[in-house]
């Protein structure tokens, strides 16, 4: 059985990770506003989507490599619980929730919207922030074979984690409304270039075993996959944050491409998250 001090260390990593990745969102007013304008059914969808994402992440890259599915579920539930408590704490510290003045709807809305990103942060933090037993006895990690679905889940988590911090802000629609088509095209190219660089370096260790032609082909394939995942996540997040309501289709596309840049960084770095463990 794991000692209490080991568990405490693990929770400490989770809490610091959760705050590290999600404090920008806890300090963003557009997210607080979303908390009181969002409909309850949207929050339900949000919780379910986050839970599925956590299951995926914990299954493929979580802290307990040999975890059974039951353990993965337990870890995911714990992460949402920790995320909720952290959100209440930070929002209260920041004076964003006030139990005497505010209605329960407002408090719950704000907290639930924040909880989900904090939970993903907790999950990544627990798995990534310098676990003391990760060095030495885990040679198995490099050939931890997670397959295509696993990579897709990691890309999804990475893009939600990185793009989630800017998705709710007013800057995305502002950039999208004012941008020229030429710049939009450049953003697509820069996104693809960044994705390629990140994926190339994450594949670097394996590259010596592969002939150079098939490596570049593999990197190109992965870059496109990562970019498509990034665009899908961007679209879903923008829809969730109400950025698609009452705008023209072309502005919506611009928004997706603008958010696709941070999202593709996260999607390709999702691969690094597991490799560097």
């Amino acid at each position: 059985m794991k000692s209490v001090s080991d568990s405490l260390k693990e929770y400490a990593r989770g809490i610091t990770g959760g705050l590290l990745f999600s404090l920008p969102l806890l300090y963003t007013m557009e997210v607080w506003w979303l908390g009181f304008s969002i409909q309850p059914y949207q929050l339900l969808i949000y919780i379910v989507a986050t839970f599925l994402l956590l299951l995926g992440y914990n299954n493929y890259a979580g802290v307990h490599e040999d975890a059974t599915f039951k353990e993965v579920i337990i870890d995911s539930v714990e992460e949402i619980g920790i995320g909720f408590i952290l959100s209440v704490l930070v929002l209260w510290l920041a004076g964003r929730i006030d139990f005497s003045e505010m209605n329960i709807n407002e408090i719950m809305g704000k907290t639930i919207v924040e909880t989900m990103t904090v939970a993903i942060g907790v999950s990544v933090g627990t798995a990534q922030l310098g676990g003391d037993t990760t060095s030495g006895n885990n040679d198995k990690n490099d050939d931890r074979n997670i397959g295509g679905a696993g990579h897709a889940v990691l890309a999804l988590c990475g893009s939600v984690l990185i793009a989630g911090n800017v998705a709710p802000t007013d800057e995305i629609p502002m950039i999208a409304m004012e941008i020229s088509t030429f710049r939009l095209l450049m953003i697509v190219l820069v996104s693809l270039a960044l994705g390629t660089v990140i994926l190339f370096f994450s594949n670097f260790r394996k590259s010596s075993k592969l002939p150079s032609g098939s490596l570049s082909l593999a990197v190109m394939f992965e870059t496109f996959t990562a970019y498509v995942i990034a665009l899908i996540t961007s679209a879903l997040m923008l829809w969730f944050f109400g950025r698609f309501s009452d705008i023209h289709f072309s502005t919506a596309v611009s928004e997706v491409i603008v958010l696709g840049l941070p999202a593709v960084l996260g999607a390709s770095a999702g691969r690094l998250l597991i490799k560097q463990q």
């Binding site: 568990s7 506003w33 009181f36 490599e65 059974t68």
Partner: protein, 141 residues
Amino acid sequence: MPSKNSETRKKSDSGEFQKNRLEWSVFAISSILLCGLIAYLCYETFTHKPSAPDLQVTYAKDSTAHNPYSYRIYLENHGGETAEDVMIEASLLNNDSVMERSELQIAFSPKRSKREGWINFSINPATADSIQVRVLSYKKS
């Protein structure tokens, strides 16, 4: 992460896992929270009826040393939707003519929540017949 060592790995292989009391309590609290959240949201989803913002504004005299003619404004939204950019107007009336007008803008009035602010006058409200406070406008959030 002791689960990475061989001892725990064996346990996982045999389909068992052991957690200490701390972990079980964190899991228990988390499960209660998560179930509570889902139950609350399901309740809200089924009982929630979309309705337009329904703003009620009340006021009370609240003078201070530097603002002797100050009024405290209470804005309450009884509706099922948040109102954005709420403009509140307060007028001092004398024989149906406006002596002075003052405005207060409140960024958000969330559904079923209260917000407060102050309005100042330069004329002593005691010299007026009446004071009228009303919501001028607000937009959909």
